[in-house]
């Protein structure tokens, strides 16, 4: 039963991801990505990674994709649908995609992923907490610096062109 569900969710995840990159309408693509994240959460559940599954939905489907949708709606979705990408962008995309694929192949060939059979470890909140605050304490602390950098970066980017005492033009 669990194996059958795993294959079902794997298929749905891949099919969803494929649909995301083939849609022309950015809103459709974004919502399909939300659905894909949902299926991925299903895969996490089947791997007994309970905490990760909920965090996946909360952070990716519920937060990051809201930002995507905001950006799409702030731009004009209809215009985006018509836009075509030039040859340079195509080559760039292929290069980045190829590099990602190579990295992924490296991880799979490394074989460390296969040593822990799914279902042996229980990914409860407490188990994640114990790992995070013992073994992975330093990466956890570094994450806060990353979040700080992101905050500063966003505010600088949004505020950069304006002067600090920039009042809205009076009507």
């Amino acid at each position: 039963m669990e194996a059958a569900l795993f294959h079902l969710f794997s298929f749905l995840t891949l099919a969803g991801a494929l649909l995301v990159i083939t849609r022309r309408d950015p809103v459709n693509a974004a919502m399909l990505l939300v659905l894909t994240f949902f299926f991925m959460a299903g895969l996490f559940v089947l791997a007994h990674a309970w905490f990760l599954a909920a965090a996946q939905i909360l952070v990716y489907a519920g937060a990051i994709m809201v930002l995507f949708l905001f950006v799409i709606m702030l731009l004009d979705a209809k215009e985006e649908t018509r836009r075509c990408f030039g040859r340079v962008a195509g080559v760039g995309a292929l290069a980045v995609g190829g590099a990602l694929l190579a990295a992924l192949a490296g991880v799979i060939r490394d074989g460390r992923l296969w040593r822990v059979p799914a279902g042996d470890a229980e990914g409860t909140t407490a188990a994640v907490g114990r790992l995070l605050f013992n073994t992975y304490l330093l990466p956890f602390e570094v994450a806060s610096v990353l979040l700080l950098a992101a905050t500063v970066g966003v505010i600088v980017l949004i505020r950069a062109p304006r002067r600090p005492d920039d009042a809205p033009p009076s009507a």
Binding site: V27, V34, W50, A54, I57, A61, V66, L69, M73
Partner: protein
């Protein structure tokens, strides 16, 4: 029972699925009934507060009004305006309606009855599941506003989305102090922890932040800016009619009920009966009393939600944003540090 059927039930997965199916059926029917009568209660209580009568003609005390209303909505003209994005316009109400149904899964509405745990799925991630599913409700509102291709719904949808995500942060942070005390996200553990003292007495600030955020998350006054009639007509659902409108309406009330249920579970002892040792009455009666206690607390909170709506005026948009980001967020963070410090000193003493 036929042998084929009992053999099928003997399979562990099938028995669990059958048990879950029965619970789901009961929970959905009870929720929908409560939604229908919360709408009526809202209209009657608001009439009371404004010195009017409210709907009292359909059936005794207007008790058949929800049924009449639902028939009216079913029979209304099914308009699909020409200017909308058809696909997302039709799908948006269902995206808004699904989260409150899904979040109910982890809320324990009683202890045990006849050997069954009275919760659909007592997940280890408990509250995190509720927050993650509830965060998907934003899409229904944003897509409704966007797909309507109309000024007011779009404004209402974007405002609503900004409000929802802004208050998700203090809401999520406020409960951290609860989990510090309980040591688990599982809601059955949270309720068991409150056998002696309810958590509102141990974490009052967390409760206050959670309550205010819950009002904002359910779009109720004083936070009903998404549908501020005087400036936005009807907000994100302006272009909707018939059952598609009704789904938004139902979702709003279902969200309110889920929020009340969560407040009761987290801070008011869930199904715990105060002052009485219910175990003395035997398992069946004790279980039933637990369910009754849960529903009494739940109804009290629903009435409180309605009462507040018809008492307070609406915030201005910038006031709303400031309250969320500049007041509730730092308060929640300070509360976490203070609770952790107090707990550490107590445990290490």
């Amino acid at each position: 029972m036929s042998p084929v059927f009992s053999n099928l039930l003997a399979q562990p997965g099938v028995a669990l699925a059958a048990e879950a199916a029965v619970k789901i059926a009961v929970v959905i029917v009870v929720l929908m009934g409560m939604v229908a009568y919360t709408v009526l209660a809202e209209r009657r209580i608001c009439a009371l507060i404004q010195d009017r009568l409210g709907p009292n003609r359909v059936g005794a005390f207007g008790l058949l009004q929800p049924i009449a209303d639902s028939f009216k909505l079913l029979l209304k003209e099914n308009v699909l305006p020409g200017h909308v994005n058809r696909f997302w316009y039709v799908l948006a109400p269902t995206i808004a309606m699904a989260p409150p149904l899904l979040t109910l899964a982890v809320i324990p509405f009683g202890n045990t009855l006849a050997g069954f745990n009275l919760v659909i799925a007592d997940l280890d991630v408990g509250v995190l599941w509720i927050f993650s599913i509830a965060s998907l409700g934003v899409y229904g509102i944003v897509l409704a506003g966007w797909a309507s291709n109309s000024k007011y719904p779009f404004l209402g949808g974007m405002r609503s989305a900004a409000q929802l995500i802004s208050y998700e942060v203090p809401m999520g942070l406020s409960v951290v102090s609860v989990f510090l005390l309980v040591g688990s996200l599982k809601l059955s553990n949270v309720v068991a922890y409150q056998a002696g003292t309810w958590l509102i007495f141990k974490a009052p600030l967390a409760f206050l932040i959670f309550l205010v955020s819950a009002f904002a998350e359910t779009n109720r006054l004083p936070f009903d800016l998404p549908e501020a009639e005087q400036e936005l007509v009807g907000g994100y659902n302006t272009e909707y009619g018939q059952m598609k409108f009704a789904l938004f309406f139902l979702a709003e009330y279902a969200n309110m009920i889920v929020a009340s249920a969560l407040i009761v579970t987290l801070f008011f002892g869930g199904w715990q009966v105060p002052f009485v040792r219910v175990e003395a009455f035997g398992p069946i009666l004790a279980g039933a009393l637990g369910v009754a206690a849960f529903f009494v607390k739940l109804l009290a909170f629903i009435v409180f939600f309605i009462w507040v709506r018809w008492t307070l005026p609406r915030f201005r948009y910038d006031q709303l944003m400031r309250l969320g980001w500049r007041v509730l967020l730092p308060l929640a963070l300070l509360n976490i540090v203070a609770t952790a410090l107090a707990l550490a000193l107590k445990l290490r003493a």
